[in-house]
Every structure is written in C-alpha cells, then in structure tokens.
C-alpha cells in the first residue's frame, strides 16, 4: 500500500515509472518527485502507469498539474501502460480528450 517512483533521465525524454497506489497519501509524494522535471524547458515526459494498482482523483490532480507545468515550459507529457481501469478514469473525467494517453506500454523504453 505504498508508492515507488523511478525516474530515468535520457537525452530525448524523461521517463517516470510509478508502481503501487496513487491516493491522498501518496499523491503529494508523486507531485514532489515529478514536478521539478516539468519545470525544465522542453521536457518530453513519459509516465509509465503499468504497475499502478489503484488511482483516484488525487492522482488525476497530480497529472493535471504536471501537464499544465509542462505546457507552460514547452514540454510534452505522455501517459503509457494504462490498464482498462485507469483508462476508464481518464475517459469519464474527460481527461482522455486532453492528454496524450496510450494504454499498453510503448516499446523502446
């Protein structure tokens, strides 16, 4: 019932892999870890959610915050590896139309 956040910085992109649960307790930790990367200019951020077992609106709030910050700094954000459950959460909240979301992990990581 916790979260682990693994960041890999490469030339082309920064990948953040999240494992565990994103809720009211762990969301602040995720925001704290990920936010600094969004403040750099032109960051291509890939967030891998394939190991996320639970997420609610607190997690959506974090992604909205990261997305806004990246946009303000000419960066991009891509969410990958979403389970059907997570995909549904983005669909019913309308975020799927706004963000770049890929269910099933992308190759070449």
């Amino acid at each position: 019932m916790n979260i682990s956040i693994d960041v890999q910085e490469q030339e082309q992109q920064t990948t953040i892999k999240i494992s565990g649960e994103i809720d009211a307790y762990t969301a602040p930790k995720l925001r704290e870890t990920a936010f600094p990367y969004t403040e750099k200019k032109e960051t291509n951020l890939v967030i891998d959610l394939s190991e996320v077992s639970y997420m609610d609106s607190t997690g959506l709030g974090v992604f909205v915050g990261l997305f806004k910050s990246l946009n303000a700094n000419d960066g991009t954000m891509k969410l990958v590896g979403l389970s059907d459950r997570l995909k549904r959460l983005f669909d019913i909240t309308g975020l799927a139309d706004i963000m770049n979301i890929n269910s099933g992990s992308e190759g070449g990581v």
Binding site: M1, E21, D23, A24, Y25, Y54, D56, S57, T58, L60, G61, V62, V64, G65, F67, K68, N71, A72, R85, L89, I92, T93, G94, L95, D97, I98
Partner: protein, 154 residues
C-alpha cells in the same frame, strides 16, 4: 435498513488511513459477490469520500472519519461521516464535473472527487449537519437489472 449486517470503522482524519479502509471495503464487497470492476468503483468512490472528509472538513485539525458499511441482500450502502467544519456540498458540487475546457492553463487540479462518487455509485445522498455525511449505494449487478426492469414494466 432492517435485517442488514452492519460494519463500522473509525479512522483518524489522516490520508495514510484511507488505504486501510479500501482493504476492508474490498473484503466486504467481494464477500457480497460484487464483480472485480464494481469493487474497484466502490474503492474509488469510498476513497474520494474519505479524502474529502480528511482534506476539507478539518483543515489541519485533528479529527476522525466514521465509515459504515450496511450489507443488504441486493446492495451495499457505504456511509462516510465527519464532524468537522462542513463545506457547502451543493455549491461545491455545482462547480465540479468532467473536464470540458480544452485550454490547458485553465484546467483545475482538484475537485473531481464528488463527480467520481456520483458517476461510480448508483445512489448518493448527503446529509449536512454539523459535518457532512455521505450515503452511497451500490447494487449487486443482477439485482440492479431486475430492479430497472420492474420500474419499466410498471
């Protein structure tokens, strides 16, 4: 309410205890025969309600959140109650909903919780007194269909 089994838990109004309630809820809901997807919906709705109580109701003060589960034959009722300083539920609800605004800089970073509760549960009632009590009902799938069918035929 009659003939229901009732389980209650009280947690400190701190975010680290929301996950514990989810574990209890999973156990109860799977025992009642809810599907995997519905249990996940129940977990989100209940967590949202508790998160609301923890974040809005107390604003840094010590407090407790009471969570009750009424196990009925065809449905589960989850009650989440705080006795902190309540916010105006109706007013808050009005201001929320899915994202329709396409302009990124105006996206809200919070406030989807109540919207998710209403979307994921079958019935939601609010009682506002000193604090806020949220009653959320989820029907077992088969029963829900039958109930709808009955409503149509009458």
């Amino acid at each position: 309410m009659k003939y229901a089994d009732y389980i209650e838990m009280k947690i400190p109004a701190k975010p680290e205890f929301v996950g514990i309630t989810r574990l209890t809820l999973s156990g109860i809901a799977s025992r009642m025969g809810f599907s995997y997807d519905t249990i996940e919906d129940l977990k989100i709705a209940t967590s949202e309600a508790i998160t609301n109580a923890v974040q809005h109701a107390y604003k840094g003060e010590e407090g407790e959140v009471l969570i009750g589960f009424s196990l009925h034959q065809d449905h589960l009722e989850v009650v989440v109650s705080d006795n902190g300083n309540s916010f105006d539920f109706e007013e808050t609800k009005e201001a929320l909903g899915p994202y329709t605004e396409k302009s990124v800089e105006f996206l809200r970073e919070g406030g989807l919780g109540l919207y998710l509760i209403e979307t994921l549960m079958d019935e939601v009632k609010v009682h506002q007194n000193k604090g806020i009590t949220l009653f959320m009902t989820k029907y077992l799938e088969g029963e829900q269909v039958e109930r709808d069918a009955e409503t149509i035929s009458t």
